[in-house]
Symmetry: C2
Subunit: 279 residues, 2 copies
């Protein structure tokens, strides 16, 4: 599908894309690029990439996948656009899209085709050691189109991502950030706050029931990745936090008033919604 793929940022996501692209026959060769030479060596040693690239010299690549920490993505994309060959497709896989898409519009150039992408397949691990085959199988992937995006090249990206097993949805970059500020960034903020609070309590609080275990899982994610995401999607995340605090205080009000019927109704609706998501 693509003779040569360049992975810029060989971590969990970039590495897993490389592994699948090769094993599923979607490319002949993967070049790796990373400022961290040790990560690049490890990627080569693990067979995640076929060859180490120098700097951002992506000129040989038919497809470039930018999977660096989200805050660095606009700058990296700018450098990639400059060096990419004519006809190359460039995607980024950042979890925040509005600021990235907006930030790179001025640097787009003719003959290089940019498609912004968000594969929803993060796990709490990170680094190229954690890269695995099949990470994206049945995962959703959001493409966030912008004015002037080449539809044929976007179609080629779709086929590549579908080849990795993903299900594609299109969403405006701004709406994407609003939705993911709520369904992903807010839960992470909540988990961090809960675990942060627990960490300052005494040993009596080290009993981990089902509820708390669920929250600690995502609080084991990379602080670098999540500091970046929280700050890049600041506005949406703040309004999600405010909306959530209002909702939690509404639930607290029912508990305070001993409103048994109101509570039963509230919790039941939540359970039914959860069941509708599974169906």
């Amino acid at each position: 599908m693509f003779n040569t793929i360049g992975i810029v940022g060989v971590g969990l996501i970039g590495g897993s894309i490389a592994l699948d692209a090769k094993s599923l026959g979607l490319t002949d060769r993967v070049l790796g690029f990373d400022r961290d030479g040790a990560a690049l060596d490890k990627a080569l040693q693990l067979g995640v990439i076929d060859k180490k690239g120098a700097g951002l010299d992506v000129g040989e690549c038919d497809l470039v996948v930018v999977s660096t920490p989200v805050r660095s993505i606009p700058d990296v994309l700018r450098g990639v656009f400059e060096r990419a060959k004519d006809g190359a497709i460039v995607i980024d896989v950042g979890s925040v899209k509005g600021a990235i898409v907006e930030g790179v519009m001025d640097f787009l150039r003719d003959g290089v085709y940019y498609v912004p992408v968000h594969p929803i397949a993060g796990i709490e691990k990170f680094g190229v050691d954690a890269a695995v085959k099949g990470l994206f199988r049945n995962a959703y992937c959001i493409i966030t189109p912008y004015d002037g995006m080449d539809q044929n090249k976007a179609g080629a990206v779709c086929r590549f991502l579908e080849g990795l097993g993903m299900r594609i949805k299109f969403m405006d970059p701004g709406l994407h950030d609003e939705v993911f500020g709520f369904v992903s960034h807010l839960p992470h903020a909540i988990a961090y706050a809960l675990v942060g609070l627990a960490s300052r309590k005494g040993d009596n609080y080290r009993f981990i029931g089902g509820g708390f275990r669920d929250y600690t899982r995502i609080a084991a994610s990379s602080e670098k990745m999540w500091s970046d995401i929280f700050l890049m999607n600041r506005t949406n995340l703040i309004s999600s936090i405010d909306g959530f605090v209002d909702e939690l205080l509404r639930l607290k009000g029912m508990i305070e008033e001993g409103d048994y019927d109101g509570l039963m109704d509230y919790l039941k609706k939540a359970r039914l919604f959860k069941e509708s998501l599974d169906g």
Copy 2:
């Protein structure tokens, strides 16, 4: 260990205790008691109990396990104390302990030995159909002693619970409720509020990333069980909610101010605490 065990309330917890007690040779016979005749029939049919008991006629039982919904436990215990034979041990497995222990002190009588217990092994399923063997293997179990609790009988309860695979800890009933108001009841309240809020958003919000999936899991729990728990542990839960809201707003403050170093430090500490829990 006990010739005859009575299970009052044959749901997930009571049923799973019955299954293990029999298969591990800790009892010869299990009698089941439940106001819900259909649940009792099903328990018999599934082999969870050996015989249906009538009303609260627990007079044949050497050990009575009260595993009804937590709000009903004080009344049920009162009835069980009246009908239990001399020398019988009675335990309840409610997830809230202070209100239960306090509520039944006046009804204790000589010759019947009460030991309050909280096995930390809930899953989001409920009902006797969900009862399984091995639910308590390696789970913590809290015993919450009160003045005058018989130490020998508490020892017998320990050996029984350890026979089911549990690890025993002792904790004052009030401290138990404070701790579990934070590590279990608060996470459930948060999960319900998050899912409740999501259920009123549009279809764009149905993308379920790792973060949101973790929260929806516990929001699928029984609304009856959790309405009861929220109200019985009201005071502790409310102060846990207040403390958590303060903490989340502190995190929001760092995001609002763009305090990258502060965020990195906060998230890293949370991750390290999570790793210390696993270790």
